[in-house]
Amino acid sequence: MSEFLQQLLNGLSLGAIYALIALGYTMVYGVLRFINFAHSDVFMVGAFIGYYVGKLVPEGTLWGGMIVLIASMVGCAILGMTIERLAYRPLRGAATLNVLITAIGVSLLLEYSGQVFFGAAPRTFPQIFPSANFSVGGLVISTNQLAVILVAVLLMIGLQFIVYRTKIGTAMRAVSLNPKAAQLVGVNNDVVISFTFGLGSALAAAGGILYALNYPSIDPLMGVMPGLKAFVAAVLGGIGNIPGAALGGLILGTVETFVNGSQWSTYKDAIAFAILIIILLFRPAGLLGKFTVEKV
């Protein structure tokens, strides 16, 4: 029983990271109807910003950790908005395939620029938050895991607030539903799209930091696998659906952790794609996605 709970805890903390990345995929899909493949590399850049800023602040302090987290989120928000401005905005109105191919191009650009600037060799991520393990009723909980769950929950509550309680969030939902109608009430869609990229990229950066805390070896290609899995999580929850992305992430992380702890651990990466195939076959709109019916 305690092993089950332990695995569940590990799974949820991995899933929370997938969820943070998946939110960015799903929000961008919501407003632009394409998959931003460069998103997983923004996650990687987030971890590297954390690595360099982490050298400037004392290790193992709460305030130092917070500074690293915020610096990385701000840095990646700017990066995400810059990518949108330079690579995607000129293609507004072009076929989705063109944008999709551009996204793959941006992804490769970030990965191999990363190898040029950061080097291809893995680096060890500093222990930015205070580190300790404590056991509760047979469960071993590390502060890193707690940080993951705490930060992820707070960010998701914050996101929920932005999307459902603010003017720009309502505009995001409006643009996602009907970009033309949004323009006709006076929304500048470019501003909303830019904001969406910034928001999604900041969440990916937080995901990058939290991932690096628990798997402290970082390199320029580290985003590929978590990025793909987060993409699966977004599809699993229903692409374009924000609560769906969070749910998809948690499910995927948990399933992967349980498979990893079983005799089939070799297949821990395969399981994500098996889930993708099954969901596309049986429920292509995802768990929380629905085919909307418009009344005329």
Partner: protein
């Protein structure tokens, strides 16, 4: 108030508007009638900035707005209620109205416009927390007009407000359109396939046929025109 001169618009190689010109005086209701594919919706979409003109000029309140982005045109007080209503179906009625006031910053004015919307469409007030997609067709049209009124417009363009609405609601909605014009002084450009109805409420009309204006005049006179009667008014 609005002046369109030699407007040409095309979709790729296909010409949709072949150089139309018209003027709309402040405080009037003007209608644009014509059959399917005549270019009525294209005209409205080009004025509101959703489509780009190939040549020609659109002036609003004496200023050139031909190349402006849609949100900048809304900011000047020209609001377009599109064909098919295009309400935000997954947002509540309340949120739809709030989106209508997206560019408004004066809270007192927003509250005043909201009260005005509720005074002409009391049904919307009853359904404030309801998801807009669950409203009936007529209620959705009320919401679309209400949302446009929230932008505090000087000029309203309505595209087929009678489309897909229960006949009994059509007359209500047209009464409200006249009321908005009379009591609020909002100039209206009305596009309709139901030419009888459109000529009844408007003071001046333009008849559009395959991208050209083929006839214009006072609505009263056009209603009596034998040629127009035969083509659009069912004998």
């Amino acid at each position: 108030m609005l002046s369109v001169s030699d407007l040409q618009v095309s979709y790729g190689a296909i010409s949709a508007l072949g150089g139309i010109s018209f003027k709309i005086e402040q405080g009037s209701i003007v209608t644009l009638i014509g059959g399917n594919g005549a270019g009525k919706t294209t005209t409205l979409r080009t004025i509101s900035g959703l489509l780009r003109a190939k040549t020609g000029k659109i002036e609003f309140l004496g200023e050139d707005i031909t190349a402006l982005a849609p949100h900048k045109i809304v900011a000047r007080g020209l609001c377009h209620v599109p064909e098919g209503r295009m309400i935000f179906s997954n947002l509540t009625v309340d949120e739809n109205l709030a989106m209508g006031a997206y560019l408004q910053t004066d809270a007192a004015l927003i509250a005043k416009n909201r009260d005005y919307v509720f005074s002409i469409f009391p049904r919307l007030k009853e359904r404030l927390k309801q998801t807009a997609g669950t409203l009936s067709g007529g209620e959705q049209q009320m919401l679309a007009i209400g949302r446009a009124l929230m932008s505090n417009p000087k000029f309203l363009m309505l595209d087929e407000p009678s489309l897909g609405i229960a006949p009994r609601l059509i007359s209500t909605i047209f009464e409200k359109i006249v009321e908005i014009n009379k009591h609020h002084g909002i100039t209206i450009l009305l596009v309709e396939q139901n030419a009888n109805l459109a000529l009844e409420v408007s003071s001046y009309a333009y008849v559009l046929e395959t991208g050209r204006i083929v006839m214009e005049g006072e609505s009263k006179k056009l209603r009596a025109d034998p040629q127009l009667k035969a083509t659009y008014l069912g004998g």
